[in-house]
Amino acid sequence: MLKNRIVKTFVGFMVIGLGLVSCDTGTKETPTPPPIKANLDSAAEARKKDLQKIFFSIPSTVEMASLIKEKGMGFDKSILNSTDNVDKYTGEARQAVNLGIYGADLSYAAMFDEKQVTMNYFAAAQVLSRKLGVEGALTGELLERLEKNQESRDSLLNIVSEAYGDLNGYLKENKRIEISALVVAGGWLEALNISCNYDPIGNPDIRTRVAEQKYSLKDLVAYFDKFGDAPALMEMKADLKVLQTLFDATQTNSGKVSSSKGQDGVVVIGGSSSITMNDETLNKIATKVKEIRTKFTSI
């Protein structure tokens, strides 16, 4: 499979390399043959690890916010990170986390069709992305599209999602995957904090959605682990791991997944898996999320 491909490529390079050597008329000692198999194994392993860093499940801030809207709850600007703070963040890690936080705030504002707030948060995110040297994403063209597409909530949401997707793509392509990881973590943290502000104890659906973040957190921690001890990620990684110990107190009920075709021909995927938690665990999680989020947003 991959190894075969690498073998072919490697053999191709070896042929070219041999050609180069044969052109050299100087006399040299015969070099020790390289451990080809070991090299190929490590190349295949490195490629696999690179792909694991690129293909990664990003927790959806849009889907977290959508539940709040679906349940008929109102927009609350006071729970967002003020855009007034944008100029005060220094250091790449803080800027990246807050870029993610503003992204979640953007999704939330767009979900509630809060046009002016959406524009303000997009502008704040743009400032942070420029500070991070990400000139190719969150462009003025996207801002113009936001201005022109204010009639449709779905258009606003799609532009916001596209903007952040493109931002992540830009960071990955420019080998700044650690910054991308911090943006994702900031967004997830903010979306969870927003949900926790909507009385999850009194709202069973929001309680369940908060509990289900156990999945996303597990993915996020595993993702951060792939970077080893990268200094920029250490603080967030430690915070996420503390949060994970609190999520460990939730109860996961695993069940078999079923799938069948519905009457309209669309596949329906069901299953009895669920995650539940008691009030004490929920309170602990909400308090810790707020504490971490406050630490990163305060100046």
Binding site: I58, G169, I269, S274
Partner: protein, 142 residues
């Protein structure tokens, strides 16, 4: 000799140049296929080569209808993809030549594994191209 060095340098640099084209490819060729759905934050795109395999563990929430899109640059050719539950049970399998989108409804929140498999190629020069995985969601219609 210098010519050969240039050739080798070009071969080595091609994946990075191609990387930079994935965002444009995704915007122009992939995003339009999510029409009718709200794109969620999952945006995974990379240059893959023949023989590559990549996996994504995605969370899908209950009471939502989803579209999973596996968008492949024609230069690479078509690829296989599978959707499995976390126990490894196969839910869906396709080649992008037949279906590059998988529409489904989620009754309850589940994590599913999406696996991409780029077939081997007999060609000596490696084929490579962008592969993008996108997810869109909308309210579930009964």
């Amino acid at each position: 000799m210098r010519f050969l060095v240039y050739i080798i340098a070009i071969i080595l640099l091609v994946p990075y140049a191609a990387d930079a084209q994935c965002r444009a490819f995704t915007k122009n060729k992939c995003l339009p296929q999510l029409e009718g759905y709200v794109q969620n934050d999952n945006y995974n795109s990379a240059v893959l080569i023949a023989g590559d395999e990549a996996e994504l563990l995605l969370t899908f929430y209950g009471n939502k209808q989803y579209r999973l899109l596996v968008c492949v640059n024609p230069i690479l050719g078509n690829i296989d993809y599978e959707v499995r539950d976390t126990n490894g049970e196969l839910i869906y399998k396709a080649n992008t030549a037949d279906a590059d989108t998988f529409d489904f409804k989620m009754v309850s929140t589940q994590q599913l594994i999406v696996k991409l498999i780029v077939p081997e190629s007999e060609s000596v020069l490696p084929h490579e191209g962008c592969v993008t995985v996108l997810v869109g969601s909308k309210e579930m219609t009964q």
